[in-house]
Amino acid sequence: MYPRAFHYHRAGSLKEAATMLSQLGDEAKPLAGGQSLIPLMKLRFASPAHLVDLNFIPGTSYIKEEGGSLRFGPLTRHSEIEDSAAVSKVPILHDCAAGIADVQVRNRGTIGGSLAEADPSGDWAVVLMTLATEVHCLGKTGERKIGLPEFIQDAYTTALAQDELVNEVVVKIPGTYSGGAYLAFKRAAPVYPTASAAVQLSMEGDVCTEATIALGCVGLTPIRPKDAEDALRGQPITEKTMAAVQEAVRAAADPQADMRGSVDYKRHLVAALVKRAIQVAVRRAHGEKVEVSHLYA
């Protein structure tokens, strides 16, 4: 399938890319890993007249640990994050990077591109919603820092202006007694999940002192089920606590019926994923090494 013909521009720096996007106007789009954009162009759901290729810009792919945060270059590939020793200290990030689609897609797809695409079925936004994450955006007037909850505005819609680009993604490293996990349920590796759940919590003995939960694929944007977090915070992890959390998750989920499942099915599925993610997160908070992988139908 051929995309509509387009003009190709290769940027030498992010600043130059922003200027190009500004000059070319609404008909121009930036090209990062292309694993969402190129399929959309081949189906002609997207037909930009100009593409500004970011892939040749030096210094845009890195992972740095600095001042208690991890800083990701916008074009850092999922596979680089999967293999990073610095990232392995924050297991939920590794769960995400290692579980996105398949090897080939992870070799091309980028963290900045995933956030800027804001696909309701994407993985990164869900996971990063449970950590303190800032998206640094670069436009022709300079850089601005936006918290991830404000960055993701709607399905496929972010706070980025047409001529603005993700410059860096900064994620605060959670504390020692914090543990997290991300689980998605998929029919096969290359497809988007049916539902996904990210949990990051802190433990003092048997009691959960802090908890953030985010749900993926069950709303137009990642959902933070605040009632479920409240049901977990300050509680020991018992059957009763878990039942209350799951009930609140089912109530907060707002899925749409499609070929992946009915509304009711997805509510139950996402609650089951939250339960499993909590179980793994608790063990990790206690310092245990637990490997997880996404669940397949």
């Binding site: 399938m1 051929y2 995309p3 509509r4 013909a5 387009f6 003009h7 190709y8 090209l31 292309g34 694993q35 190129i38 399929p39 081949k42 189906l43 007249a49 100009h50 593409l51 290729d53 892939n55 040749f56 596979s79 689609a101 398949d102 090897v103 080939q104 897609v105 070799n107 091309r108 096969a188 590796a189 290359p190 497809v191 992988s293």
Partner: protein, 162 residues
């Protein structure tokens, strides 16, 4: 519709041979390989980033060549299935797929062999879980996965110390 889209000059090394080409920006890497270079061993299956039949190695990393524009491969080194054989000798991965009957119709095989090559270049002793993860982006419509797993295991054994 923008008119008079200029072609872009690129240089790309494919299976060790340098090519200077003019490509339309919208030309996908797989089309360039198949139609401009006549390397038809790289297949197009789903054309939607699902099946992995078009998998090639780009600077050593497996990519779906239907989900990348040829202009993006400028300056890169690409390995396709045609580059596996050396001096009339099958590559150990090719030989293992033959010996272990790791193929039925063969349509997915070039892509799976290149995914195997990325795996074995980074992990010389893969366990079954590693192999399954490495080829999760390659669909075999004949569903011959058991023998594919055996073929990858055999390839790993025969390449040990190589």
């Amino acid at each position: 519709m923008p008119d008079a889209i200029p072609k872009v000059a690129i240089q790309v090394k494919v299976n060790g041979k340098l090519h200077s080409l003019q490509v339309e920006p919208r030309t996908l890497l797989v089309e360039m390989l198949r139609e401009q270079l006549d390397l038809t061993g790289t297949h197009v299956g789903c054309d939607t980033t699902y099946c992995g039949a078009c998998t090639v190695l780009l600077n050593g990393a497996a990519v779906k060549s239907c989900t990348m524009f040829a202009v993006q491969a400028d300056g890169a080194e690409i390995l396709t299935v045609e580059g596996l054989e050396k001096d009339g000798q099958l590559h150990p991965v090719q030989k293992a797929f033959g010996d272990a009957y790791g193929l039925q119709c063969g349509y997915c095989t070039p892509g799976i062999m290149l995914s195997t090559l990325q795996l074995l270049s980074r992990n010389q002793r893969p366990c079954e879980k590693d192999i399954r993860k490495a080829i999760a982006g390659n669909t075999c419509r004949c569903t011959g996965y058991q023998n594919i797993l055996k073929a990858v295991t055999l390839a790993a054994e025969s390449m040990k110390g190589a």
